[in-house]
Symmetry: C5
Subunit: 272 residues, 5 copies
């Protein structure tokens, strides 16, 4: 929304834009309803700033809500993987946020620039200039100063909200990564336990396979051989597995508990 | 907690809020007990700042304690995966911290703003204005300056504590990731060792399987064939496995020790 | 593009460079066509700044477009791995961006330096000096100030665009990592389900292997034994697999839903 | 270490603290030995600052050494996983560093504050005030300025050393992660090669299993059938494995070499 | 390199250091060859600054080249894992860079400090002081100001080059991580495809195993049973594998294409 404000007229650029059209009746109402002694240009400026900030506020609330929703779905503890569609949406939100961030930063910089230059602010007293033919004294610019400072503060609040949101997205991404990694570890342990079982069965299966060969082991007619061998095979399989599981358990918890360092509090008190 | 302070009265907004109600008796006590010559508005302001900072302090201590607890549980060396519930709690704490951060930053910014403007501070001498009808001289604002500076310093301390906490959370997250990765490597090595065993058994099992076929190998009646073949099979399996394990070991430690670079100390001394 | 500007002549350094040659006719046109009263040195300076910024703008648009294209291809949801060639291109773009960033930062710093020193700006009124023999008054430097401020603002806009682009690349890289991790979890779950099947088959296969041994189980002639054993084997395999799958499912969703913390809004209202 | 310094006396708070007690004799020595004309309060102040900075220096050197040691052990190229105990120690060091950072930042801020306020520095000439009954002229505060600036510079150096250390820890963590990932890839390739072998053996084992069935294949009496089938089985297994390994190799190096972009140097020369 | 410069003599500290010795003849040459009217102390100061910056430049070029080389080798698209030796070298370079960074930052800070204090710069006119017995007027310090500003600009350029290099290292590390992850996904998919094959063969192998049992299936004499069963087994294996591969394919590309959000351009136009 760009406009040229005179002391008694307002030229709106981009006047065909939808949001500008919607804003016009509201603006008219404000100008006519405003009956105090603030000059025309300030009423218009304030109305336009208010409109701009309210649309920014809406946009931020919308973005924040959308981002929170996506993060909530992505962090759902029932999921073991992440929906790629949701990730894309999160990326889009995150991009919109960084565009939003740069817009608000622009506005903040512009407001700060104007507030820093007392000359620029004095030049904004258009009605005063039209009435008296002189520029406003640079000492006497309380009104415009107050208007701009109020909106500068709003811009700063917005910036800090955007920052909080971006931090929240970053944090959530870390948590998602840790979560996926942790899930992977859970699966890997299960997988390892199964592999141990397969290993045990395969190794002990070699016995069965040996006796399955059409070669003469001279035990063929022994009535106990079948049961003894089968029993050995099963027992070997079971014992091997149990042993392997206990190795896994101990190798995952092998590390000694962390040694306590010299308490940092002592350094604190000495440092002061 | 918002309030309008006059030189002889205090209007509390949100006066129905629980924490405001709790604070009232305390405030009364302070105002009546304070018998030195500082004007009413400063006594109230200081009481309110003190109340605000003490509640912030409590909140920070609580948050810090909670975060430390969660991190301690997450970093427990007995765990090979991470409890998703704990991760969620950590995320919540981390969000609360960044909200807390932005609140304290706000307060800091406001205090700095007021301290930067000698005019604003002079305007705060309400009793002086009520008594003399004149604004305070801008040179003579020691009292309010001291009060605000003390709380600004408190805010800065809080900021740096929050920063330390956030750094600690970030660091812990990195450590957790490394920890999970490392656990995965441990499991992967175990898994690889087992796979090598399965591979060896499967390959040597092919021999047994060949002799298990109902085909004529003309060795069926040979009384030594069974024992020779079984022995070969077992030995092949064992040797293969041993060889594979040594390949694994060498491939994990293959890299040459890092070459020493030109010592950075020389550059340092030349740089000065 | 380096040049020495006098009040009535222009010496271009590097005048053999292609881009400088292309720029010359354009510059001539501008100088001759400019018929207002701005002195020669400002016309040249503005033309050169405009040329420089337009070439920077082109370069930025090109880089931005290229980076967006690569990111779009890298984030294609049909991919389960990442094309290394694309990664290299992304890295190149990211390096070009950071070079571009430091160039624009340089320009920004130079413009700010000149704008901060009113003496330097006054010294730039070469025609004034040539005509009057005196340096320009330091108060009266609106023209050059306006020219430089306009381009400083352009430089700042460029900086914030570059920043937005770099944020976008960083975010996309995080998303790519999460995506790959998530894909890996999906594959790992599939793999685990298969492993469970293999495990079940191997364990129950031990039964078959036992009866395959050429040893006397005294069940050889029993006409039901074959069907009973085969049925047991298959059923064991199926039941084992089903049980394992349900263990997998429960271990992936074991964590309790995250406990709700005390709502952060209360802290907010107390904090104010 | 807190103290109240007067122009002729010194009150030490926390005088029971061990480090304060140790410091006392040293301080006495300094005060008595100092025979030049600097006033009592500066001698004490400088002694206390020196003591504080030397204890900070010791602490920093100790922390830096400890962190370097842990990092060195963690980066040992012979390791394929990371010792959790070491990780914990690294985390502790990293926390101590960030506490140390905030202490030094505090000190830096306080010194800067005092140096910024010429009034505060003038007020520090206690002996001058005691002797003449007047505050020191704010122009004439070279001595205290020099003392404080020297320690401010020390604090800044410390800050930059701490920053370098923290960067080093961050960098090392990245390298450790890459290292673990790379190790995992090495193991994964080995694992994949083995799986290919198991796959080949299992598939070709199906042939042997088919002939192992107690069903009539009418080849039972063929004297060549055993050797032909066994040969086929082994060859199938070998060929299959070889083929799979070449697929693995090509799929890991499939990506085309990265295309060269337009050289960034051209943009550089145009940008200037 | 530390030195005490007088208006007519130069005392070099650390005069035994190799680099200082090498620098001496050069310095002599410069002092004698310099025949313009700039005082002795400035000739020496400029020569020393030039020497220092040229050695820093050399060091930076060397570091940059080395880092680029390592990164180039680490990013070689033919590698599927990362050489640990190279990683160590990268870490060393990265540490050297951050030390270099803090040295240049120190120099920059010192130059800025001196440039900020007009008094310090006036004090540097030693010859002036020696000749006239008076300190230089603080307004008339163009010469020293120009010398220092030129080197400050050099330091700033160096800082931004170092920053670009560090960004490049960070970016490359991210790319390396993504690359390794992506490689792992490629291998995992291959592995999963093989596992599916093994699974199919194992499951269908159960049929063969059942008929391999020495139990009476009453199909022993059926001449077609062998071929039918073998055919079923192979077909089951093939079909199962094909089906599993298609499940894998669909589960990796399951996610719907990302939904388009409301185009961010609208918010942009509204925001302005």
């Amino acid at each position: 929304m760009k406009a040229i404000i005179n002391s008694d007229s307002l030229v709106l650029l981009d006047s065909n834009h939808r949001s500008v059209k919607e804003f016009l009746p509201e603006l008219k109402l404000k100008i006519t309803s405003c009956k105090d002694d603030s000059p025309f240009e300030f009423v218009v400026l304030e109305a336009m700033l208010m409109e701009m900030f309210s649309s920014l506020d809406d946009r931020l609330a919308e973005l924040g809500q959308a981002a929170e929703d996506v993060l909530h779905r992505l962090l759902d503890p029932q999921l073991f993987s992440v929906d790629r569609g949701e990730l894309h949406i999160l990326l889009q939100h995150s991009k919109s946020l960084s565009e939003f961030h740069s817009i608000v930063k622009d506005i903040e910089a512009t407001l700060t620039d104007v507030l820093d230059s007392e000359e620029d602010m004095a030049d904004m007293y258009l009605t005063h200039f039209a009435d008296t033919g002189e520029y406003r004294d640079e000492e006497d610019i309380e009104d415009i100063n107050n208007i701009l400072e109020a909106y500068l503060m709003q811009a700063e609040n917005m910036m800090s909200e955007v920052q909080t949101l971006r931090d929240s997205i970053d944090q959530s991404e870390s948590i998602i990564l840790i979560n996926l990694d942790s899930q992977r570890n859970v699966m890997m342990r299960l997988s390892l336990q199964l592999e141990m079982g397969v290993f045990s069965a395969t190794i002990s299966g070699l016995i069965g396979m040996a006796f399955g060969m059409n070669l003469d082991s001279s035990l063929e007619e022994n009535p106990y051989a079948f049961w003894v061998t089968t029993g050995c095979m099963m027992m070997l399989c079971g014992l091997l597995w149990k042993r392997l599981l206990s190795i896994l358990f101990s190798s995952l918890t092998r590390s000694p508990p962390p040694r306590r360092l010299t308490p940092p509090t002592s350094s604190r008190s000495r440092g002061r």
